[in-house]
């Protein structure tokens, strides 16, 4: 009696489960079947059909949706899949949002199933994940090495081994609104930080909020200023070229934090505290602030009618930070974590294609990102981008940005401490101590 009842229930359940998996599984199957080899379990790829088989390369990317690189990436992906249609196929996993991307890669790392190719678009995952990444040094020949600017190899190498193939250079100064500067009676960008603050006072006197700042998402706009302030002298410059610093209790850092505090308290918008990049950017777009620190990828927005008024781009000037400081560093490039020899070869071909001179040229033209390759230039770009590149060639001090240098949890800690610093609840010294404490956790 009971047995039959039991069987009935199990039967119903089984039918239910089967129906579910048929409903949902089928759809996924089509794509799954050929795809198994790349999910991390490599068991399928090495045996199986030999001749003329197409190797699939797993590549999760955040270059989707509104990301400024979406158009470029789609163009390159199409070209690659066409050129190598008989050998490879890139399986793209779309992960929208930079933070979501990094989080997902971390989970994959923890379960030892990193995808073939990773490109974080700037986040430094090399230090925490290099044990599962492929050391690419043997595959980079001299010619290749020479063609790309040295700073780019630097950020992608650890102890002489290369873990990332560079494709882009990080060149950052600040933009200013010439109209607003003129209204305040300012002729040209400041040469020293004292002058910078004097100019801020002039802007305030003319009823203009001087600087766009933010604190959320590691306070990108603010932290760029902070880094540039730190690099005012030789020691500071060295600090801003040091990977994973643990001690922030230095004079340069504390002085810079003090200046940031001053900026927060007197010279920025109300929504800076707690604000994101969007808030800072839109204040600049709407001519409510006169200065914003950011890279040349922002320039295309200056021409976008959805963002700014007609003719906005004509009002914009570019500048080095006071003391002729510029961010001029490599950007973390493409990392490879393929597990088999065959996959590795495929991944290398893909990465080579994505970082080729041709691809870099397209990137420069489509997104305004500065190429890693020294000889890549184009006439077909916004004049402001050229200006930024020229600035970088004149810079007296070249530094790297905090997101690629500092520990991830320090970068996160900045967001937490900025509001306290801004509201005077902690001193610059305490700010430095808090970051030091975070760094020591690693």
């Amino acid at each position: 009696m009971m047995k039959r009842g039991f069987r009935k229930v199990v039967g119903v359940l089984l039918i239910g489960v089967m129906a579910i998996s048929m409903l949902s599984g089928c759809g996924a199957k089509n794509k799954e079947t050929g795809n198994k080899s790349n999910t991390g379990n490599t068991q399928v790829s090495d045996g199986g059909n030999e001749s003329g088989k197409i190797i699939e390369i797993n590549f999760p990317t955040s270059w989707v949706g509104v990301s400024s690189s979406t158009e470029w990436f789609n163009d390159r992906l199409k070209a690659f899949n066409e050129q190598y249609s008989d050998k490879y196929k890139v399986v793209v996993e779309e992960i929208a949002g930079d933070q979501a991307y990094v989080d997902k890669i971390k989970v994959l790392y923890s379960s030892k199933s990193l995808p073939d190719v990773i490109s974080t678009g700037g986040y430094n995952l090399i230090d925490s994940m290099k044990d599962q990444m492929v050391d690419l040094t043997p595959y980079v020949d001299d010619q290749w090495k020479k063609s790309i600017s040295e700073v780019c190899w630097d950020v992608n190498s650890r102890d002489g081994s290369i873990y990332g193939i560079p494709y882009s250079r990080q060149v950052i100064g600040y933009f200013y609104n010439k109209d607003l500067f003129e209204k305040a009676g300012i002729k040209e960008p400041a040469k020293t930080w004292d002058e910078f603050f004097a100019q801020c006072d002039k802007l305030l006197a003319a009823g203009i909020t001087p600087v766009s700042m933010d604190t959320a998402d590691s306070g990108w706009l603010t932290s760029l200023l902070l880094g540039a302030m730190i690099a005012s002298d030789d020691e500071g410059e060295a600090f801003m070229n040091t990977s994973l610093p643990k001690n922030y209790n230095t004079k340069e850092f504390i002085d810079a934090a003090g200046m940031i505090q001053k900026l927060f308290q007197n010279y920025t918008t109300q929504d800076a505290i707690g604000g994101k990049y969007e808030n800072g950017a839109s204040n600049f777009f709407m001519e409510q602030t006169a200065i914003i620190a950011n890279g040349p990828w922002m320039i295309s927005d200056f021409y976008d009618a959805n963002m700014v008024e007609e003719g906005f781009s004509d009002k914009i000037g570019t500048a080095m930070f006071p003391g002729d400081v510029m961010y001029n560093s490599g950007k973390i490039g493409f990392n490879i974590a393929s597990k088999s020899e065959e996959q590795l070869k495929a991944s290398l071909d893909f990465v080579k294609f994505m970082t080729s001179a041709d691809s870099q040229l397209k990137m420069l033209e489509m997104t305004g990102e500065i190429p890693a390759e020294i000889n890549v230039t184009s006439d077909n770009i916004y004049p402001l981008v050229t200006e930024v590149i020229e600035n970088s060639n004149k810079a007296a001090r070249n530094i790297n940005d905090f997101q690629s240098l500092w520990y991830a949890n320090v970068v996160d800690e900045i967001s937490i401490q900025y509001p306290l610093l801004a509201q005077g609840q902690i001193t610059p010294e305490e700010f430095a101590t808090a970051l030091t404490k975070a760094a020591e956790k690693n």
Partner: protein
Amino acid sequence: MKNKRIGTLVSDILRWIYLIFFVFISIGPLLWIVMSSFKTNKEILSSAFALPSNFSFAGYEAALKLAPIFKFYNNSLLISMVSTILNILVVSMAAYILARCRFRGKTFLTLLLSSSLLIPTSSLLMPIYIIMTKIGLYDTKTGLIIVYAALGLPSSLFIIKSYFQSIPVELEEAAYLDGAGFAKTYFLIVFPIAKSGLATAAILQFLTSWNEFMFALILTKSTLARTLPLALNYFTSQFSFNYTAMFAALAMVIIPSILIYTLLQEQVTDSMVAGSIKG
């Protein structure tokens, strides 16, 4: 007499102020999202609460172009529905036993199952990811269905269990004495009586599945199994944003769930009225 009437009036007024306040904070945000989806980026960021200067559907067009919304939509619908059915079937059976029967280890089992209510899902992310890859359910709708059915397990269990406890036991016992088997009694007698409780739990389960973000992100990789909340990330990245499109997408995510809720809610009401008449 007059005093009493004034008292009623005052309490009526207080009651309405109370209700209006909650109406305001409940639907205000929703209206705001819909309104914002017709504004330009500039308008959203400069004056968040002003009316749009002119109504345009550009945001909706951009949203549909930037993200595969319709595909995610179908996935969300299927996954949410199937996980709800699975959840209610499985949980209600267990809840019935826990509400009605005495057996050794019952308290322990109840506590164990309830403990799932307290676990921050982010702490289980990684182990669950590993398990799903091991049993081959990574990047399938089935995988998400099972995870979602489990995510709603504790709250469904509580709701359904306390409903069973508030239903008089006589009816079932009568059926039982008439010779109906246990399973039959449950599915034919108890299930219909508990309809309102089950429906309430089902609605909550559906909404949990519909809105879940973290697991959807981690447990899927192709657009074949991805769900609607993931579409929202397509509209902001570190250095670029399209607010108009994002609010349009938000509206497209929110409005159907409200519609679905409202429709199902009617069901609950009907069964509730029926239940209370039977007493």
